[in-house]
Amino acid sequence: MNFNVKDIEQFQTQKQFIDTAIVPLMQLNLSDEGMKQSSSAVEYLMTLTMFIEQQFRGRVMLMPPFSYTDRTKNELLPMQLQEELHSTGFKSVIFITCDHFWSKKNENLNVLWLPAIPLESMDKTVKQRILEDQLKQIIPVLTEAWV
C-alpha cells in the first residue's frame, strides 16, 4: 500500500493483514559536489521501495520517505516515528536506507542498509534484473519480521 487516500481507506479496514510499515531513510546532500551522488541514491531507494511495495502491497505500507541533511539528522527521530507507527497498528517497522550512519545503531531499529546502485545509467532490463536481485536480499528480512 502507498500512503494515499485510496490505500489508506483499505488499510483502515484491513489492518490485521497490512501489518508492516516500510520507511525509506533518505540522506540529502545539498553541496555542489555531493548533490549528484545523493540524487542517485535517492532515485535508487525510491525505485527499490516502490518495487517492494508492488510485490508485497497486501501486507506492507510504504511510507513517504523520511529525509534529512547532515545538519537535520537526528538519531532519535526514527525511533519516535517507529513508536508512532507501532501504536497505529503496524506490528513491524522496517527502515531502508543507503546511509551508512544507520547501519551501526540498529539495536532498537530494524534498519536494512543497502549500498546505492546507480540505476540511472542502466537500461530497463538490467534495471529490472538488479531490482529483482535486491529484492531477494530483502525477502529474508521481511519473512523474519513476519514469523
Binding site: 483499505q10 484491513q14 493483514f17 497490512i18 508492488q54 510485490q55 508485497f56 502491497r57 497486501g58 501486507r59 530497463k124 532490463t125 529490472q128 525477502i139 519473512t143
Partner: protein, 167 residues
C-alpha cells in the same frame, strides 16, 4: 510628467483589447482541445504490448514474463513494469496476472515448497491452482485475472486484463 499618464482613451483601448483577448482564448481553447484530444487518446491503455518472450519457448510450466508500458496519471507519466505468468495449455497460451486477489501482492509459481503445482502468495499464504482458481480456505476470494494474448513475429503480446476464463 503628465506625458506618461495613461489617458482615458488609452486605458479603454487596453482594457478592451485585453478582455477581447481573453474571450477569444476562451472560445478557441476548447476547440483546440477537441481537435487534439483524439490524437492523444490513441495511446490509451488496453493496447497490446509486445514482450520479449518467444512463443516457441513457452512450455506447460508457468514462467514470469515482464512487460513495460507508459502510464499517464493526471500529468504524471511513468513507465510501469508488470508481469504475467505464462504457460501452454493444450494449444492455448494462458497468461495470468500475478496480482493476488486478496490484497494485491505478487504471487509466485510454486512459491511454497509444500504446495507443488500451485501459485503461492507470500503475504498471507494465499494459494491458487495452475489455472488461477483460488484454493478454498486461503484468504483470496476470487481467481487470478487473465491477460488477452496475441502473437507477433513469434513473440508474445499481452493485452487487456480480463476475468479468469476457467472458473
Amino acid at each position: 510628467m503628465s506625458n506618461n499618464r495613461v489617458t482615458r482613451r488609452q486605458f479603454l483601448t487596453y482594457t478592451i483589447t485585453g478582455v477581447g483577448g481573453f474571450m477569444a482564448a476562451g472560445m478557441l481553447m476548447p476547440m483546440v482541445r477537441f481537435a487534439i484530444d483524439p490524437v492523444l487518446q490513441t495511446k490509451a491503455e488496453g493496447n497490446l504490448v509486445l514482450t520479449s518472450q518467444k512463443i516457441a519457448d513457452i512450455t506447460d510450466v508457468p514462467v514470469k514474463v515482464d512487460f513495460t508500458f507508459e502510464q499517464t496519471d493526471g500529468w504524471y507519466k511513468s513507465d510501469v513494469t508488470e508481469a504475467a505468468w505464462v504457460y501452454h495449455d493444450g494449444n492455448e497460451i494462458v497468461a495470468l496476472s500475478p496480482v493476488c486477489k486478496h490484497l494485491g501482492c505478487t504471487v509466485n509459481w510454486e512459491g511454497d515448497p509444500a504446495h507443488a503445482n500451485q501459485f503461492f502468495c507470500a503475504c498471507h499464504a494465499g494459494r491458487y491452482e495452475k489455472n488461477g482458481k483460488n484454493v478454498k480456505g486461503t484468504p483470496p476470494l476470487g481467481p487470478l485475472d487473465q491477460y488477452e494474448v496475441a502473437e507477433k513475429d513469434g513473440y508474445l503480446m499481452l493485452g487487456k486484463k480480463i476475468a479468469n476464463t476457467f472458473s
